[in-house]
Structures are given as structure tokens and as C-alpha cells.
């Protein structure tokens, strides 16, 4: 069973600083700083909720990315999900 959609948790608020951001999650009352790659994922989530599209869009926006970048993006998504910042819905 694959993941059909991936969205920011509705309980989150974001403050942007340059290419990074800080996210507050009201549900867990936690504040997390996202690095540049995680912040790109976070920004791209405004445009798509498809996990596959998200990964390709993030790679497009990461010039000169390494061959293992798709795996890295997936790992970041998993991490964001484990923090409760993104919500995944299975198909």
C-alpha cells in the first residue's frame, strides 16, 4: 500500500528566515528549526500533496543534487512525519 498524499499538519505555523524556517506545532507544543533541504520540502508542500511529485519537485529545486538525494528527501519526509509535522494518508 503506497502513500497517496502528504500534507502539512494543520496544527503547524511557520516563520521563514532566508532559505530556512522554524515550525511550531500546536498539537505537540514543539518548535523545530528546519534546515535548507527540509525547508524546501516544507515549502513545496504548499504546492503538491503527492509524495512522488514532492520528491521530484524538491530535486528540481536542489541544483547539483547528489545521486542519493531522492533517498535523502524521502528520509527527511519520514523524519517530518515522525515529528508529527506532516500527515500521510495511505492509498
Amino acid at each position: 500500500m503506497g502513500v497517496a498524499s502528504i500534507t502539512r499538519a494543520p496544527t503547524t505555523e511557520t516563520v521563514w528566515f532566508g532559505d530556512g524556517c522554524v515550525v511550531f506545532d500546536r498539537a505537540s507544543n514543539t518548535v523545530r528549526r528546519l534546515n535548507a533541504t527540509a525547508a524546501t520540502i516544507w515549502r513545496t508542500l504548499e504546492e503538491t500533496s503527492s509524495r512522488a511529485d514532492l520528491i521530484s519537485m524538491v530535486l528540481d529545486r536542489t541544483p547539483g543534487h547528489a545521486p542519493d538525494a531522492p533517498g535523502e528527501v524521502r528520509a527527511f519526509c519520514d523524519e517530518l512525519a515522525s515529528w508529527g509535522l506532516i500527515v500521510e494518508a495511505a492509498q
Partner: protein, 283 residues
């Protein structure tokens, strides 16, 4: 307690609320009126603290401490004033719903608003007092109320509370209390700076850290994202505040430069902060 004290107690502002203190000890009321002088207000108080001294002179006697019409509590003498301030802080925090309240000190030096964030014991109050001794205007040593609609901090000019480990640094400010009041104030000094203002626009956020291992003082720049994470750690629980609180803190750190100030030397720390203020002013 005289009837005039009970009928016309002086009122003091505490962020979004106000309070009065009534007591059978006029010397205590006089002292409170002096140290809370920057917060005197004209409106009728929303809350009243009633402090009644022990009837006997036996050592270890307890005061009766009443907040509004709650159940009276018995409080040991040395804890009466700290308890009073704790209760006032709690009322102030609860009352200010149109602002995000940080556990932080606030001063303004040469027109530059400075928010000093730090854990308890980090030296916020001492640094605040040191800056006030060097011409800064005082707003608070305890709570910074950051408005949600724009980056402005409102004053909460309670007396600065100094613990014994700070006393050697500010020895000349010994309160010199009347002996009758000394038993009530033996664990903390309360000092009220000369100059105070009502609001400021913060342009510096300082993270104070007491560092006994180093001599002098040092500065380290903190980037805005880290500053926001750290500031949020000193805010009243964001999850129970209405939407916009986090964004307001984001606006605060976007408007201000942030530095960590580590020191064991008040004079050196104040010199560093004055240098930062000049840097901000020269831009």
C-alpha cells in the same frame, strides 16, 4: 488595619491588570509603594492582596495572606514578599491576552530596546540593573509582553529582584531597610531603577548566560532561526495561546539582532551591550 488603608489602597498596574495591597503594617505598604512606584495607577484595582501580620511576636510566626476573596493562607514571614510578587506575576501573565508573554527582562538604552532572555539564575536581573545604572530606561526584569500586532514590548516595572549571589556585584545598592522590614526581605533585594518607560521597540535580543568559568564577558551572534527557537522556549506555553503568538515572536527576532552574552563580570557585560547598542544605532 486602618479603615482608610482598606478603603483607599493605592493601585498598581501589572500588564493587563491592576492590584492593590492592604495590610496592618503601614511600613510594608510604604515600602511596596516605593518599589512599585513606576507602576502606580489611577484606576480601581482589579485584585487585592491582604497581608496581615502575626498577632504574637513568637519566632516563626506566620502571616495571613489573602488574594481577593480566596481562602486565607498562612505564609512564613520571609516568604510573604516573594509570594506577593509571585502572585502578581501570575496575575499579570494571565491578564495579557493581546500579547505574547516571555520570561525576559526589558530595558531601553539610547533608544534601542533590549530584551534579555535567560533561565532563572542566568543573570538577567543583574544585567538589567547594571544597564539601568548606566543610563538605560527600565521596563521589566521578569516579563516581556510582546504585542501581537506590531513589535512593541510593554512595561511591567516591578522592582528588580536580586538573589544573594548577585549582591556582591551591586553592593552599593543595598536597600538599607528599616530593621522592622528586614525579616520580610532577607532572601532577596528589591531595587527600582530611577528611569522607566512604558514601551519600547526591541532591536536587540540577548540570551544571558552566567559563566563562572570565564573571566570577563563574551558575545556570540545567534542567527534568527535559532533565536526564535530559543525565545519560544521562554514564552508562556504557545499551544494554549491563540493563533498568532508564534508569528509575533518571529516578528520580534526578525526585527532584532540576537546575541548570547556569557559573563561572570557585570561591568564587562554592560560594556559589551553598550557596544552592541552603538552598533545598532549607527546603522
Amino acid at each position: 488595619m486602618s479603615s482608610s488603608d482598606a478603603e483607599h489602597p493605592a493601585a498598581y498596574r501589572a500588564l493587563g491588570t491592576s492590584f492593590a495591597v492592604v495590610s496592618d503594617r503601614p511600613d510594608l505598604l510604604e515600602w511596596i509603594d516605593d518599589v512599585w512606584r513606576h507602576a502606580r495607577g489611577d484606576d480601581p484595582p482589579e485584585h487585592t492582596f491582604t497581608l496581615v501580620s502575626p498577632t504574637g511576636a513568637e519566632p516563626g510566626a506566620h502571616w495571613t495572606f489573602v488574594v481577593d476573596d480566596r481562602v486565607p493562607q498562612l505564609v512564613p514571614e520571609p516568604e510573604v514578599v516573594p509570594r506577593l510578587h509571585w502572585e502578581i506575576n501570575a496575575l499579570a501573565r494571565a491578564a495579557r491576552r493581546d500579547a505574547v508573554v516571555l520570561h525576559a527582562a526589558v530595558v531601553e538604552l539610547h533608544g534601542v530596546g533590549i530584551v534579555v532572555v535567560g533561565a532563572s539564575g542566568a543573570g538577567k536581573s543583574t544585567l538589567t540593573l547594571g544597564l539601568c545604572e548606566r543610563g538605560a530606561h527600565y521596563l521589566s526584569d521578569e516579563l516581556a509582553a510582546v504585542r501581537r500586532d506590531r513589535v512593541v514590548v510593554d512595561a511591567y516595572p516591578k522592582p528588580i529582584a536580586l538573589r544573594p549571589d548577585s549582591w556582591p556585584l551591586v553592593e552599593r545598592l543595598h536597600p538599607g531597610l528599616h530593621p522592622a522590614l528586614a525579616p520580610l526581605l532577607r532572601d532577596e533585594w528589591f531595587v527600582t531603577p530611577q528611569l522607566a518607560i512604558e514601551t519600547t521597540e526591541p532591536r536587540l535580543v540577548l540570551f544571558a548566560e552566567y559563566d563562572g568559568a570565564q573571566s570577563g564577558a563574551s558575545l556570540r551572534g545567534v542567527d534568527r532561526a535559532d533565536a526564535l527557537v530559543r525565545v519560544c522556549g521562554h514564552a508562556d506555553e504557545l499551544a494554549v495561546q491563540s493563533a498568532g503568538a508564534f508569528t509575533a515572536l518571529g516578528a520580534l527576532v526578525a526585527a532584532a539582532d540576537a546575541y548570547e552574552v556569557r559573563s561572570s563580570d557585570l561591568v564587562a557585560a554592560c560594556d559589551l551591550v553598550r557596544g552592541l547598542v552603538e552598533r545598532v544605532r549607527s546603522r
